[in-house]
């Protein structure tokens, strides 16, 4: 890599001039690629690989003992209770991803389409919708924890009012207020919705940027051909939005499987109640670094878990990126 990437597609060198041009292109590409690659190698890849090597050793706390082969992996995947924890956390990550695709990205797409048609006040709405993305996650987590608090939370106050309204109107007795973060059935969903609240603006803006970069003539041509708004969206916007969709799907996928900060702030390291909000990120951190109030750390198992997460995310995103890319080409 340091010698500069080989060029293809350049015709074979014939004379000195061609060779010079080819070499200068190689130097140009190397100039572009070597500095970022070097920084990335030094501060991400090298430490990461060293950490991953840990997964092949047996550890007692933070002391490295002998070579352990794949034992740490076997423990995580086949021994109880690790296996149950691994499957439980993995499954929650899947739920997070699928739910976010629906409640976050689909809504964002609708908002972007609306904003893309430049309704009155669209500049204001753009600024506002993106605002939560600029907030510190800790702040968002704390505030929503308070909103969802069964004693003081506004969410339950509103739902109580709603329940009363329903009772008065329909005569049906309902109690919609819940201890959202305290029940196994609702805690994960509550966290995902808070995540969607915080992040909604991001896919919206990315989609909007995608929409805005579509030349006006395309829309005009379609409308001249008599297409209605839905048909324009379906046959012009959507295909041309494909690169933005790829970015969002992949970032959401990776983000969902590395989900850590929000559940950490709002629920805690052990994924309460009863591990119903446990995700791989929390499980990994807990295993590698322990938790003062209950669990012990084991670098080997923690690293092994990270390797598994990495491999899974890598394989899926590579395959998926390729699929989405070829779709981009097809759609265009």
């Amino acid at each position: 890599m340091k010698d500069g990437p080989n060029l293809t597609r350049t015709p074979p060198a014939k004379g000195g001039f061609r060779l010079g041009r080819r070499a200068s292109r190689a130097i140009w590409l190397a100039t572009l690629l070597v500095p970022p690659a070097l920084l990335f190698l030094t501060f991400v890849v090298y430490p990461m690989i060293s950490a991953l090597v840990y997964s092949l050793y047996e550890w007692r706390g933070i002391s490295r003992l002998g070579f352990y082969g794949l034992e740490n992996f076997r423990t995580l995947l086949f021994d109880q209770p690790w296996q149950a924890w691994t499957i439980n956390a993995f499954w929650h990550n899947v739920v997070v991803f699928v739910t976010l695709m629906v409640v976050q990205n689909a809504v964002a797409l609708v908002l972007a389409l609306i904003l893309g048609s430049n309704p009155r006040g669209s500049r204001f709405y753009q600024v506002v919708f993106f605002l939560p993305v600029t907030l510190a996650l800790v702040l968002v987590g704390f505030q929503w924890k308070l909103f969802l608090n069964p004693m003081f939370g506004v969410v339950n106050k509103l739902l109580d009012a709603l329940s009363q309204g329903i009772e008065r109107l329909v005569g049906l007795q309902v109690d919609l207020s819940q201890p959202w973060l305290g029940q196994e059935s609702t805690a994960l969903v509550a966290l995902i919705l808070v995540n969607a609240w915080r992040w909604l603006g991001f896919p919206t803006i990315v989609f909007l940027a995608g929409i805005r970069s579509i030349p006006h003539e395309y829309f005009e041509a379609a409308r001249l051909d008599g297409a209605n708004e839905w048909q324009v969206a379906r046959h012009v916007t959507w295909p041309l939005l494909a690169p933005a969709v790829t970015i969002i799907v992949i970032l959401t996928f990776i983000g969902s499987f590395n989900w850590f900060d929000l559940p950490y702030v709002m629920a805690g390291l052990d994924g309460p109640p009863g591990k119903s909000t446990d995700v791989l990120g929390l499980y990994f951190y807990r295993t590698a670094f322990g938790e003062v109030s209950g669990g012990l750390q084991n670098f080997g198992q923690g690293s092994a878990l990270a390797v598994l997460m990495f491999l899974f995310i890598l394989v899926v995103s590579v395959v998926w990126t390729r699929a989405l890319r070829s779709r981009e080409v097809e759609l265009q």
Partner: protein, 275 residues
């Protein structure tokens, strides 16, 4: 027809207003909370504070080196973002606009950084920074953040660069522009939306991160805002009023910056439409 149009417009506006309320109400309550006492947060969580007292903020101002932390955070964050943007555009430009053997592999190489929890690398990173003499230095943090932010920058910008038509580039090439000139004069202005998105995407987590400073910064005069406030808030872990004020104080600079730059932000996003 016009009636239907009108009702669609109304419906759209209602939807947009609903979302605006959903966004602004929690932020409104958050800012109110920082003026309340903890007792008030519990007894009257959503109303106006009894008085807009600045006690919580004064406490923070007096008991921490707020201006110093703030300056340190600005240095670290801007250093990281600048590095991410420069190195990101370099890599993305090479990967997105040139075809060469190993392109796809190199792209995946950068991308792999998105999929790893860098926290795992804490110990090797610690040993490495120690060897470079970068423990307890802003430069060490900047390198880590930049390296960590690079994958998303490469991913987002390569995606954008690939969609740009090659006509402009070819025209410039025929006019005899050098590769560097093409990058700076032709492509760079077109990638503004991507640059804006990458900046914001990285700015918020870098500004708010306290994990790496916590591990790598020990001197009081090098502490960043989240780190400085974390230790302070540790003393008030159950005093939610001070906690809120601290979190709000740390968040305000980014929000202010965003609101000030929102014109450019929007303009940056629409820049793509100019072509």
């Amino acid at each position: 027809m016009s009636l239907r149009r009108l009702s669609t417009t109304t419906l759209i506006q209602l939807l947009l207003i609903f979302n605006t309320v959903m966004v602004l109400y929690p932020i409104w309550v958050m800012s109110l909370s920082s003026f309340k006492s903890t007792r008030e947060i519990f007894r009257n969580p959503f109303g106006l504070p009894e008085s807009f007292n600045l006690d919580n903020f004064i406490k923070i101002w007096q008991q921490t080196n707020f201006p110093l932390y703030f300056r340190n955070s600005v240095v670290v964050t801007s250093g990281s973002i600048v590095l991410i943007l420069i190195l990101g555009i370099m890599a993305a430009y090479a990967l997105g606009r040139y075809q060469f053997r190993g392109n796809e592999l190199l792209y995946l190489f950068f991308l792999s950084g998105l999929m790893l929890p860098l926290r795992l690398a804490l110990i090797p990173l610690f040993i490495e920074l120690k060897a470079f003499g970068l423990i307890n230095s802003h430069l060490g943090l900047i390198f880590i953040y930049a390296a960590q932010g690079l994958p998303s920058a490469v991913f987002i910008m390569t995606g954008f660069l690939r969609t740009l038509p090659s006509d402009l580039e070819n025209a410039a090439r025929i006019d005899g522009a050098s590769e560097l000139q093409i990058l700076l004069r032709v492509m760079l202005p077109l990638t503004r939306p991507a640059l804006v998105i990458v900046s914001i995407y990285n700015l918020v987590p870098v500004w708010n991160d306290f994990f790496f400073p916590l591990v790598f910064i020990q001197s009081e005069n090098l502490k960043t805002l989240p780190l400085g406030l974390t230790v302070f808030m540790g003393q008030y872990s159950t005093d939610w009023a001070v906690l809120f004020a601290g979190l709000t104080a740390a968040a305000i600079p980014v929000i202010v910056l965003y609101v000030i730059l929102s014109r450019q932000f929007i303009a940056g996003l629409t820049a793509g439409a100019l072509k």
